[in-house]
Amino acid sequence: MYLQILLLIAFVGAFLTYLLGKISSKVRDIFAVFISSTLIVMTAFLYGNFSEKTFYSGFLNLPLILRMDMLSWLFAITIAAIGTFSIIFSLSYIKGKERTDFYYLMMLLVNAGMLGIVLSGDLISFYIFWEIMSWSAFLLISYNRGPALAAGMKYIIMSIIGSVTMLIGILSIYTSYGTLTISEIAPLIASASPGYILFILIFFFITFGIKNAVLPFHTWLPPAHSEAPSPFSAVLSGVLIKMGVYGFLLIMYVLIGLNKFLTLGEGLLSFHYILSILGAITIVIPTFIAMLQNDAKRLLAWHSIGQVGYMILAIAFGTNLSIAGGIFHFFNHAIFKALLFMVVGAVEYRTKGIRDLNSLGGLIKKMPITFIAALVGACGLIGVPLTNGFVSKWLIYKTLILEGAPFLAFAALIGTWGTILSVYKFLHNMFLGQLPEKYKGIKEAPFSMKLPMLILSFAILLFGILPGIPLRIINAIGTSFGLEALNVNIWGIVSETGALNTVNIFFAILIAGIIVWMLLRMGKKSIPVSQKDSYAAGAYIPKERYHYTVEFYNPLNRMIKTYLRDFIDVFYSIIVKVGRKFSGMVRKVYSGDLGYYVIYILLFLAILIIIKMGLVLW
């Protein structure tokens, strides 16, 4: 009952918000925030609740079921939280733009759809909610029109392909087992042949891989993320693409089961190993492509692909540490990537839509809070110790090395070092350096933007220093998959092969920082000077702008640029071109002229008659 009410509030709230918007925009804003925060509270109360209830059974004689366990809870609370923060962020971001009612409707609908996905207990309702999410996401991606329309089109075409493959998978399961309830399929599928399981897995892999932007299916993501309105980019990158991760977990570990999944194939040719390698490739290449980007959101978008690679690698690798690391990384990535997109959104809002990294700079003087948020988020993305990203990556690295997968570990580690370069570029080109003359009058982001950014920054540090809080939940998920429980403590992980203690590190850095600060205080006081007062080794200092950051990593870019083109995108473009040519040919036949059609019909009849007569004569 409770789950139905939850979803009902989510959906009805979305439409009510739209209607309220026709009356008054203020009421609508308040109501949207109220609805989305209600969802957080309601989900939070479900903690530790395990239930499965049929809410409708008339559909094709199949019961539609809502289900709740630890895995759904973690995803649901993340969805609800990121959704609420982005709605709060939208309040000033979207103000004054056109079609705001529609925007809020879609934002809430996406959230409701995602909640439905993680709460659904059978594959049919899973599919229905999946489609709701996909289509409302499409409408939001193309909200800005112009290039956004093309981006949205690219997204929805790939998404439809994914839906079709999922539908095939679902139908196949239905014809084999006669049921679509997840908890009923799980015991039945245990006796299925490995070939059949592989068949199912591949179809679902295409669906979830597309949503997740795993490497051959990633091309929709960079344009979609960069063209969508920033608060929605936060949702898109934070949770929506992670529905693929949820799908993978559901299919691989809930439906098929740990043992069956890990023993599919042998050695290097097993499915889970190949998926891990795909994850590793998804880490490395996009992370390096990100370095070449000059659009702040596009840079982050490429990192989304890279970070999803960590999750896929970890989840597919299939040890208790790696699955915990993968799920934890989903949670962390939702927080820090949402935060980073909000930062870009705030800058975009204040600079009237500028997100080109080469034309910004020096904003720290004008937007210090946004800078702090950006710094914390960037550290989380790199995985600096004391941020949450570190703990999840630590888990992944550790298991990869100890379980004898050194090359996968190398891919995961080098991805981090590639991240540093692009993330520093992101921070430096936006916030550090010289402030361009035209941004002299810029102000700090409004409160409704600062609030979600500060909360998310705080969460990054909190879960980085006390990772035990989410790890306990993740541990419960792991044990429900049949994995050995981790020895989790509030400050990290205890184990014989190397413990992690983040609180130790925190205090060590804190104390060392204080000591160094005291040391600095002991020295002679310094004179604050303006940025223009700098040493140029005798060179002339120009009056306007002295400090440029265009082509920041040029020596490296020159070397690696040729290898880092998005070949897959080029390949798809060729397919599209060929497809267009083919449809052009088809269109010549279907000219729309009635006369032609009559001739076709007559010709067809003539052929039939000739065949008939020919046969008779023979």
């Binding site: 550790k398 004898g404 190398f410 010289q434 130790n504 060590a508 600095l520 310094s526 700098s534 020596p555």
Partner: protein
């Protein structure tokens, strides 16, 4: 508890003293190679004291915080690295934490320098990051080989496994050790890899806006990172040390080797450095890793 605190303080002081001494020794050896007399060995220490008494210029809060973060991270790193039996925080995450805290140093300097808004700094930081990406590729392969060979991520256990002269450098890991020596100049940022500081081209790069106490902290940080980079090599490949004295002796040998390299080579261009680092060191490191994997598969 008291002993632990004393250990921590001792480790930091040893690192500081030795690091600064190394800086002095560096100049002395360089001078002798170039047929000069050279400054006294304690000259860097005197410089630091002098700098603390000079007026400096600050460009803002991040300018200050960046250098603080960088030095604090170096101090914390000392606590993770076994210095001949002294290792205070070894149970807090192992080699990965060391690797990651090593990030704080360039990141802190970079943030601080970014606030400085000097083109020389920008170029220096860009080069510094590119260089670190360059040497991280072989370095990570080497570290993964070591961790795979000893099947642990704890540096203390790696050191313990090498006791009784079973140094990694003379074990199946010898190829990895050799590769580490090949990239050590890049990690230490000495010639031919001093592209980030390059005094003659970009006026010391990231350090160009530092003066007074900031420059003093920068020098201290430099001393620490010199110590750390060599100490990690000694721990991983030369068996650490039974007591601090042996440990420092081994460090001295590696250090003098580094100074000799510094003395005879001219500076690479950025592309040349990357090309060097991504060619032979990577090939050798991969070969080393494959050897380790074969041995592990054969003999467990």
């Amino acid at each position: 508890m008291v002993i632990k605190v004393l250990e921590i303080i001792a480790a930091v002081i040893i690192a500081l003293v030795i690091g600064i001494l190394f800086l002095g020794l560096f100049r002395k050896i360089m001078a002798r190679i170039q047929w000069r007399y050279g400054p006294p060995i304690i000259q860097p220490l005197l410089d630091i004291f002098k700098l603390f008494h000079q007026k400096g210029f600050s460009h803002g809060i991040i300018f200050d915080l960046g250098i603080i973060l960088s030095l604090a991270a170096s101090i914390v790193l000392i606590l993770f690295i076994p210095i001949g039996g002294l290792s205070s925080l070894e149970t807090s995450g192992g080699l990965f934490v060391i690797l990651y805290i090593m990030l704080f140093k360039p990141l802190g300097i970079a943030l601080s320098g970014g606030e400085g808004a000097n083109p020389n700094i920008s170029i220096g930081i860009s080069r510094r990051f590119i260089l670190s990406l360059g040497y991280e590729v072989p370095l990570l392969l080497i570290l993964i080989s070591v961790m795979t060979y000893y099947k642990t991520i704890s540096i203390v256990e790696i050191v313990n496994a090498q006791s009784n002269f079973q140094w990694s450098l003379f074990s199946p890991l010898f190829l990895s050790g050799l590769t580490y020596l090949m990239i050590l100049p890049a990690i230490l940022e000495i010639r031919p890899f001093d592209i980030a500081s390059a005094p003659q081209e970009i006026s010391s790069g990231p350090a160009v806006e530092y003066s007074g106490r900031y420059l003093a902290l920068y020098h201290i940080e430099h001393a620490f990172s010199l110590f750390i980079s060599i100490a990690i090599f000694v721990d991983l490949f030369l068996g650490g040390g039974a007591n601090p004295f042996y440990f420092l002796l081994k460090m001295l040998v590696v250090f003098v080797l580094g100074v000799f390299i510094h003395a005879v080579f001219p500076r690479f261009r950025t592309e040349q450095a990357i090309r060097y680092l991504w060619r032979w060191p990577v090939i050798l490191a991969v070969a080393g890793l494959i050897i380790i994997l074969i041995i592990k598969a054969r003999y467990g």
